[in-house]
Each structure stands twice: as structure tokens, then as C-alpha cells.
Subunit: 261 residues, 2 copies
Amino acid sequence: MQVGQYTVSPILLADTGKFSNMAQQIPEICQICSLFSEPENFCAQLSNGELCKLNRKSQTESVKRGASIGNGVLQQWPIIAINSGVLSFKHQLENGRSAIAAIFMRGDILDMRDLSNRNQGRFVALSKVEICKLSPTVFERIVKVNEDARNVAWSNLREQAFRATDHAIDLTKKQALEKLASFIFECDRRQETGVVKNTVHIPIRRRELGEYLGLQSETVSRCFRQLEDQGIIKVLNLSTVMMTNVAALEHMARGGQEYLK
Amino acid sequence: MQVGQYTVSPILLADTGKFSNMAQQIPEICQICSLFSEPENFCAQLSNGELCKLNRKSQTESVKRGASIGNGVLQQWPIIAINSGVLSFKHQLENGRSAIAAIFMRGDILDMRDLSNRNQGRFVALSKVEICKLSPTVFERIVKVNEDARNVAWSNLREQAFRATDHAIDLTKKQALEKLASFIFECDRRQETGVVKNTVHIPIRRRELGEYLGLQSETVSRCFRQLEDQGIIKVLNLSTVMMTNVAALEHMARGGQEYLK
DNA sequence: CGGCAAGTTGAGCCAGGTCAACTCCGGTGG
DNA sequence: CCACCGGAGTTGACCTGGCTCAACTTGCCG
């Protein structure tokens, strides 16, 4: 991610006390938020003043697993940043089938201004999700003057578009095993660093994984087993797998068929 | 699309001659380009000076059907705007299968900076495509100072992300007929206005339509026939259909099954 | 008018969906 | 602490939508 350079991290400024009058103190709530504490995220690009202003006009909220962000909320708060957890964009078809079109994680900024004229779909939490509802006015003002912040926002949006495109590829021509392999890599890429090497955390349930990959939960289950039987992964528990043959998994994710047998 | 207001269209400024020294003349090539002539597109937001500057540092190119935009080009020109035609993002799987993950049309701005670390895929023209390779430097500068231009670019990128998401829904849980119905509406939404009512131009071939929808061209063919047999559309020729029962088609596109029979 | 690519139609087959039974696991209350 | 419960996951048997392959037709361009 190409974000200009971040000269001095805001937290350092705070520590030096240079700008620390009351109004400029870093809000407590921001200090423990990944949007601020991870240097590649949006809030980390802000000056103390900007951060305070944004914080004053914004609201955090905790969405529990299974709950969705109401339409009223989206109307009033069309810009939402994710601090932690997994948020999905879920679409309900007419006969009970449902599809998860995209998943969002910490650092992502959702901009739903003029989402209204789009076809319906809801944002459903797949785990406990901490969000920050950003004030559109302040957001817009910041993006106007703060180049680093603008670049991060732009970059994140492009990232979302790329991910959606990659996902479309998985859905278009890959078969079940390949989709799953591809998903495991997606998890690996997006998960927090610092976990055990080759161990991947699967942040969502089988059912939702199916809805995301266009498969039935039974099929997902069978595929996990098949990958395990082929010695490519080891399923440690429902939400953790270990890649035991990365090359094979990678090849499979790309649609290679030597390993399909 | 929420683009601020466009006060006075640049072309009017030119006509009044107010700013018409040599350097500020609207480039001839821009006058016939949809990016400039359609008021909701990027170049229409620019001042004469900006347009000239951008034009001087950019290059137009015509890509013929089937050809793709080379990697070298993308490296040097990571930002490409589409004047006309249909451009696809195509991914080749290992055994000859190929998938079209997204399609782009006039007005779309592709920003491939840092595409390099993404998995491979090519931009292939599905019809004759006129593109304008924008200078990243000038583009960046314009986006910095021109709010309307920035909003258009941002809005377009969001649009791309939304479309990709909608497409993912089509691919995830819909069956062949539903996918095709959905695609017909997508064409309708995106096509130039002013064509005959309920007549939709299908801008791509059966084969590519299949690659886009995750179907075989044979299946696409069968689905067209089936829709026609059910009296929902009339296939006028390979690239034109007429919607004879819009409600049914719409319902089907949403995944409703009354009409599947 | 001939040639070739694109599209269509048909027959058979298989990956993955469907349905139903079963297991596993975490939480709860006696 | 254990018995119970309910939801999530797994496994098996069967079925079907769409893929495959092959033959045929249509449409386009020189």
C-alpha cells in the first residue's frame, strides 16, 4: 500500500506533548482502536486536531454476531470504518437462499453514500464487530486537505474492488476444492501477522463460508476433509487449519488440477 | 452519482473564448471523447488548463477486439480511462478454463497502481476499445485540487466495487437463468440512453458472456432460448434482445422461482 | 459464393446440491 | 459435577442442473 510517508506517528506527537492542549488530546477510545494504532490505517494518518474533530463527530458501536447494521443507521452514517471483527455484505434471495457477496475486516472503510439506489442487501456481523461510524462531513473535509489520509482511503477502496474481483474469479470457474484453497489463502493474507507460521485462522462458520463461496455447508465440510485426506492441510479445530503442503494448496487455489486426483 | 454541481461546463468556457489563449484551447481529441463530453465523467470536471495539461501528458490508444493491454503498458500507465467499448479483466486458469472477473465501459477509470503484487490477469478488449492512458502525476495533482474531479473519480471507483459485489451475488447462489436475467438488466443499466425502450444491447459474445457468468457458452445459449420460450424476452439478433415481460425478468433476476418451472 | 468462426441443439454424465440421520461441542441448570 | 439440550458440523445416499463432447446451423467477411 502506497501511502506517502507518515513522517511522525501521531502517537509520538502526543508523547512529546507538543500539541497537547485539552482539545488536542488523543481520544482515549482511539488509542485502542486498530484504525489508529496500525500505521497503514486511516486514522493513523490524521493530525491530532483532525483525529479529535473526527472523534467528536463520530460514534463507535459494537455489533454482535448475527446482528446487522440497520438501514436507518446507514442512512445517517453512510461511512463506517471497521476496528475489529468480520462484517459481511449479505444478500437474501427470494426463497431462502442467501449469498455473502463480500467480507470486510479491520481497516476497511465502507462508503455507502448513494447505496440507496442499489439493490438490497444487509451488512451482517459474522463475529463481534467493532465499528466506528464516521461523520461524512468531517471525513470529506479531512480527505480534502490531508493527502496521506486521502491516499489510504483511496487505496483501501481500490483494495476492496480488487478483492471483489478476485472473489469473482473464485466463483466463476473454480470448483469446490479450488475455491476453498483460494479462501484459505485469502484468510492468510488478511489475518493479523504474528500468528504461528502456516497456521490460518478461519474467521467464519461453515455455513457462512458456503454462502461466501457459493457452496453448501455440507460441501465445505467435505472439502476440508478431502484436503486433509490429501495431506495438504490439517484441521486443528473448526476455526484453525495448518497448511502442511503450501505448494500444493497454492497450485490448487490457482486452478491447477494435478492434485485433484 | 453525487458530483457536486458542475457550475459551467468547460466547453462553454471555450465558446465564450474567455480563457482561450493557445495553451488553453480544448484539445481536439478530447472534444469527441465521452470522458469529456458526458457531464458526469471525469474530464468534464476539469478546467481548461487542467484538461490541457492532462491531455499533453497522456496518450490515447485504440485496442482492437481480442487484444489485451500489455503488462509493460500497465507498468508505465497504471491509470487508464475508457472512452468507449467493453474492456474485460480476464483470468486464465491453469487448464484452459478462463474467467472474466469484471467488465469495464466508457467512463470507468482503472487505477492499477500496485496491481503488481496481485495475482495475474489481463485486460482484454471484448470489442474495439478506445482508452486514454492518463499521466499518474497529473491525475494525482488534479485529484488533489479539484473537488468535483475527485468526487467523480471516487464515485466511479465505488461504483466499480459495488458492481463487483453485485456480480459476486449473481455468481454465488443464482442458477443459470437467473444469472442471465440479471446480466440483461446490468446491460440495460449501463448502456447508453436513448435506445429503444426495453431493447437491450448485449455488448459481448456468448462465449465471453459465459466466462463472465460462470457458465458454458452452450448453457448461455440454452438460457436465451428458454427465456424466449417463456415469452420473457425476444432475441432480435445475437447482440440485441427485447424485454417483453420486464416484471418476470426482474423477478427472475432477483432469484424468484415462480418463473423457472 | 465459399470458408470459417460463432452459435445452437442433442445425449449422456458427474460435481455438487438436497435431504436425512448422526455426531460433536459448548452452555445451562439441577 | 453431570445430564441435558440445541445448534453447528459431518457423513451418507440419492438426484439434478449444468458441463462435456460432438454434430449441426447460422452469420459474417473477403
